[in-house]
Amino acid sequence: MQLTPLYRRAAGLLSVIMATTANASDWATRSDLDLRPGVTQVSQEVHDLHTTILWIVTAIGLLVFGLILVAMIRHRRSRRPNPSTFHENIVLELLWTIVPFIILIAMAVPATLVLFQLEDSSGSELTVKVTGSRWKWNYEYLTYKDDNQVNLSFYSNIATPVEQRETPVFSAGLFPYGTASDRGGQPAPKKDHNYNLEVDKPLVLPSGIKVRFLITSDDVIHSFWVPDFGGKKDAIPGYVNEMWAKIPEGKEDTYYGQCTELCGKGHAFMPIEVKVVSQDKFDTWLADEKAKAAAAPDLTPFADLKEAMDAGEGVYKANCALCHGNNGEGGIGLKFAGSEFMTDAKHLPEHIDTLINGRNAMPSFKAQLSPRDIAAVVTYERNAFGNDSGDLVQPADVNDHESQ
């Protein structure tokens, strides 16, 4: 670690601190002191319940703190040199056992009623399977009204430009978004509005109908939470959990959420973005997406190595860099820079196979990346980081391998 960038960083940090207020005030409409009421009927009932309970505990708190304050002021030695000696009072003691009990019952009744609603996912017209997968979400539309074979599935990755994230001073080399020397100590560009919340492909839902989520995970435990829908459910490997939401008509908007169960390094970087549209628009969108998915994959060959490398770099940063390092230096995953696996052409089929089928902790990317993307990223990995193997993989090669 060099001293100068650190010093410059400290100065930069100070200037950002002073600008912090301005940054955050853009968000005044999205964040306040209290729980968000949300958009669904249930989330608003949860909010009302929260408000009721908050007032009850505030009242209890004020009572207790008030009594302590009175004792501290009126019963201090300077005003009361002779203390009383009482040390029990059966009536009082019974009172402060029974009264709280009654208050608890008063809280438990509405809580139970709201809970019954939250747990009742019957009568849903759209079922979406949500799968947490380090560190992205997979959405699979299973059933929609009479259609039990929707079969539309896509992955949703964080879309915040990597340049907006600073490079940690004490990076152990695992952080994907460049090293300090990469950025030459330059401060990161201003973070935009949806920093750490936006995704490349949002979940699209129709308003006005009950949507059931089936939530599971590919690897570790994640948790699916859109605050405006009124709750969260854990995504657990081997389990399928249920949750539902019914966004009222007229509330078409974009809603954000985040993973809420520690899932490793990328925990803070797997946001949820939900675009709620009217049913008409949803039907059109769904038809388009299904048509796109049914179409044959784009197998247009790359004209030259450069075209493939350019396409591969973006794919690499979005999908590979978190484990293999921005410069192929490795980390959780294999080191690519200078690796014989990358430079020796005899490993090429194995390389393609690893992307398609996965290996050990490395997940399969068959469902996430098109043959063209896989071809691009394999080419990139074999030629970037000084590997310069010259191998150019074409989409058709990958497609052949997939259909084997």
Binding site: R9, V16, T20, T21, D26, S31, D32, L33, D34, L35, R36, V46, L49, L54, V57, I60, G61, V64, L67, I68, A71, H75, R77, R80, S84, H87, E88, L92, T97, L104, M107, A108, A111, L115, L118, E119, R165, F170, S171, A172, L174, F175, K191, Y195, N196, L197, V220, P227, K232, D234, I236, Y239, Q258, C259, T260, L262, G264, K265, H267, A361
Partner: protein, 535 residues
Amino acid sequence: MTTATATHDAHHDHHHAPSGLKRWLFSTNHKDIGTMYLWFSFAMFMTGGFMAMVIRAELLEPGMQFVDPEFFNQMTTVHGLVMVFGAVMPAFVGLANWMIPLMVGAPDMALPRMNNWSFWILPFAFTLLIGSVLMSAFAPGHPAAPDFGWTFYAPLSTTYGPDSTDLFVFSVHMMGISSIMGAINVIVTVLNLRAPGMTLMKMPLFVWTWLITAFLLIAVMPVLAGAVTMVLMDRHFGTSFFDAAGGGDPVLFQHVFWFFGHPEVYIMILPSFGIVSAILPTFSRKPLFGYASMVYATASIALLSFVVWAHHMFTVGLPLAGTLFFMYMTMLISVPTGVKVFNWVATMWRGSLTFELPMKWAIAFVVLFTCGGLSGLMLAITPVDFQYHDTYFVVAHFHYVLVTGAIFSIFAAAYYWLPKWSGVMPSKLLGELHFWSSLISANLLFFPMHFVGLAGMPRRYADYALQFADYNFWISIGGFWFGLSQLLFVAVAVRCAMKKGEKAPANPWGAADGLEWEVPSPAPFHTHETPPLIK
């Protein structure tokens, strides 16, 4: 904090207190072992605090400025482990070692050699754990330290755990052995070595709360040992306790962990209740209100703690009936807890109050612990917990209970009993500065966490959306301030250890009641060799 040579009794001339390194390595004296526990826990408090400073520095503003997210996760994990197992629990064991024999009129702990062992395991356990962090920071290749949260949920700690998970497993085993031996010692001492005439219902409440805590420890530390052993088996011996792919169950891990984890929460707060119940009567000059109901309330809290564990797991998809059961049981805990708070208020009521340092910390405890208790009641309500769960609201809640609760009570205890331990009064000026600085900064640190949690910031996030920036900035400022404030206590403690300050009489607080105040200050190396007679 004691020098033994000056204080041994005349008829014990043949039997000098050992000196030098051997005095501490081979000590079987409850006071020396208590002192070692207290210094050790304070060192761990500063170590865990330093990790919190790293966390708060990273969260000062949005973006990744200081450490990468992997190291950030290691910091949150080890901060939690060090604070729970290294700072709070050993501090209470240290207080128990020092005070229980003095309070019940026993010459020492019942099992002094085991006492030595249970302390000396700890430095080794924490060397393993903290060693993994040092390796992550400095060793070539930066092998990751434990990075799965102090709750080490499977499969993040099994299939996906770093190699250092094994260090963590062994370190937790050792901490568990230490705690169990400490607990056995407390139980045997309290049940067998009380002075004649001290019936159970005449024991000071600190002894009562520790007796109950010790039973909790014996009941749940083996469960934790089981959990880490299963993690080890899953990692290396081909079992699939927690691996769904092998027929196991990741949720089973959470049930096992929280069956330990919830009683653990009370292990970290029941002795605090005892401390505050000792301090409030002294400075209110009035006996503790509702002694018997305090004992029963403590026992009911301990029993209920075994049937509420799944309230940490409301979002895993429990059956509705199970959710309701755990919600109702959790709410029920607020009844005995409320009894305690009301008893404390009634103890102060119509007393003759003065506000020496221990009293200040104790009143701050009652108020701020109550805040933590009330947010705990909010978290018990399952439908809204679905919103609060795993957000900063939870972080705010348990820091109110553990920092302004447990840690504040430990400071109260330190200021209360330092004259007895060291023979000198703690510095008033430094102590006042330490108190006010900690009180204000702790609230600046933890109160806005409620808001940022309600606004939707998940916990264990290395980076966050811009809408949370303002809160996090002030939380970090509060954090640095609170961290620095603790250096004042270093000064207070070192001054006492060096015998600098006003000499303390046997009963420096005047109205303090209890056997510990009948021996001179500092307490001689051996006390109560002839049991005192309790009327």
